[in-house]
Symmetry: C2
């Protein structure tokens, strides 16, 4: 007694996960990767593995009804799960959906959410094969679990990064964070800029095809999707691989829209890009001898984009090399569900 009882808000999301991740495996038969990557990996079965991921979206935590088109919400909940499949280099196969719905909700927006989910299923050939529907006392909660597959030898993990690997991302950073600021706070942007940022936030595109192309090439060492925030997600790669990273400030890809939005609202665009989260781009590390061929993939098929942003180092921690050559230690300040509410 007398010992202070800890609240979940004091421990934090990742601190909490550390406390529960032991004693989770009772049979290692066909279990390749448990907790600790974008997807769990089981198999192989005839040379293929299954990738399993789950993500929950909670009203007033992840979205505000009335501030997102319900069809877009449906698309987003599937997209964020597909992004985890993309991060391992997989192809989506099947999904199950659980939804807790306040009894007072109208059927029309719920159907619109399902239409959005089914639209994404159609685009990515994902089957909806089951689920659970129940009442909620207050808020709408949606949970999706998806099974994908990939050839065993092509799967990319967080733990594969090696010193000397170049670090790439598949698109600009921070647009979604700009969109979130437009939704929730007193910020403004010209209509065309707002449209780009809101679309990045509400309708993220999972990099399934790019992820498959990268996995199939077997040129990369490690991959992750950018969900919590670039620096936090890079830290996940570094911790899983026992390495560090050095980034070049001038090479961090920031869109014209987020530059303008940041300038108009007296914000730092790099702050949004490095810590904002929900970009759903892929971050890839590639051994130097493969970089030429890796970059060629993206030149051959111009529907995919790639930006080199730094390299993996033997020295732990994440450094940012500024334009003047000075180095800054980046501390991790990604989104943590329990330490700071997004809304």
């Amino acid at each position: 007694m007398g010992k202070k009882e800890l609240k979940i808000g004091e421990l934090g999301e990742f601190g909490f996960i550390e406390t529960i991740k032991d004693n989770c495996h009772y049979s290692f038969n066909h279990l390749i990767q448990g907790i600790g990557d974008d997807c769990a990996v089981i198999g192989p079965y005839n040379g293929n593995v299954f990738l399993i991921t789950t993500d929950m979206l909670v009203e007033d935590i992840h979205f505000i009804l009335g501030k997102i088109d319900p069809q877009h919400l449906g698309q987003k909940v599937i997209a964020v799960n597909l992004s985890d499949i993309a991060a391992m280099g997989g192809t989506p196969l099947h999904g199950v959906i659980s939804m807790a719905i306040p009894k007072y909700m109208y059927v029309t927006p719920i159907h619109a959410i399902y239409n959005g989910m089914k639209e994404m299923c159609r685009r990515y050939s994902l089957n909806l094969i089951g689920g659970d529907t129940c009442a909620s006392p207050h808020k709408l909660i949606i949970n999706v679990a998806i099974i994908g597959e990939a050839p065993e030898k092509e799967v990319l993990y967080r733990k594969g990064a090696k010193p000397g690997d170049k670090i790439y991302v598949t698109g600009t950073l921070g647009d979604s964070a700009g969109g979130l600021k437009l939704v929730t706070e007193e910020f403004s942007a010209p209509e065309s800029v707002a449209a780009v940022l809101m679309e990045a936030h509400n309708l993220p595109v999972p990099c399934i095809e790019t992820g498959r192309m990268i996995a199939q090439s077997k040129l990369a060492d490690a991959m992750i999707d950018l969900s919590v925030g670039f620096v936090s997600d890079l830290r996940h790669i570094c911790e899983a691989s026992g390495v560090g990273a050095s980034l070049l400030h001038h090479s961090i890809p920031i869109s014209d829209e987020i530059q303008l939005f940041a300038k108009n609202n007296n914000l730092d665009p790099y702050e949004l890009g490095l810590y904002g989260g929900e970009d759903y781009r892929l971050l890839i590390t590639v051994p130097p001898e493969n970089c030429g061929r890796f970059e060629s993939l993206f030149k051959e098929d111009t529907s995919h984009h790639i930006y080199e942003v730094g390299e993996i180092t033997a020295k732990k921690g994440i450094q940012m090399v500024m334009e003047d050559g000075k180095e800054e230690n980046l501390t991790v300040r990604g989104y943590d569900h329990f330490i700071e509410y997004q809304f």
Copy 2:
């Protein structure tokens, strides 16, 4: 315009599911069973199939914090998912857990919930291979998705019941409903009776071993677990199989505890047994020529129990034959999340 907008509470859970179950499949490669059974079934892979199920438990809908030991809550959320694997005759393999946690919750009860989940995982050799942890604005929400497996030729579906099949259940009915009444309403029972009913409600035992034994025997036509309520779950079998059922009132198994509880509280024990829900027993239909051998299975291994309660009929609908020979049509009044709150 002018057309009344329907609320989810007016459509009901099963009515709503009817409206969303079309256009869910985009690839039939290795998809054996989608929405419409206890588990989805994919495969075969080397003669085995995977069984996939998901269930969500929501605070103040499925449980009241403070009225259930958090460790028991953890055990229950795994048990209700395992029960769906049992209903297809499968063995559990892997699970993923999503949890939305109010920031003000203490870590201790959350850890107790995880300890309960892990205790069930240990008992049933289930791996926890991933999940999602996020904040919740008010209530605790837990979603579990489980993958199991079974030999393709042994899986039992809802749709296999045939006229003439005998109907069996693997235990008494209504104990859990009695437990729920003790939790939520002004009812009472002697301590020893209350203990039995509360345990049935809080610590349901998934019939994994019994389900496997039945599936392996290949003697049954159809199987389902009793979650919504005996009559509702039997209706699911009947609708999926295009048949009806005739029940014998005197053969419905009601425990001594629920008899006493009902008598003391002026309730109908058969009402609790037929409509109460959350029994997590198995309901099995068996062709008459197999019934002798089927019943022998349970005599050989007395750790499993079985009760014959009626038979499948070509005539649709569910009839109850009373002790005096009179027949009653049973209307379905199982629990519906949106039409009537449990609490």
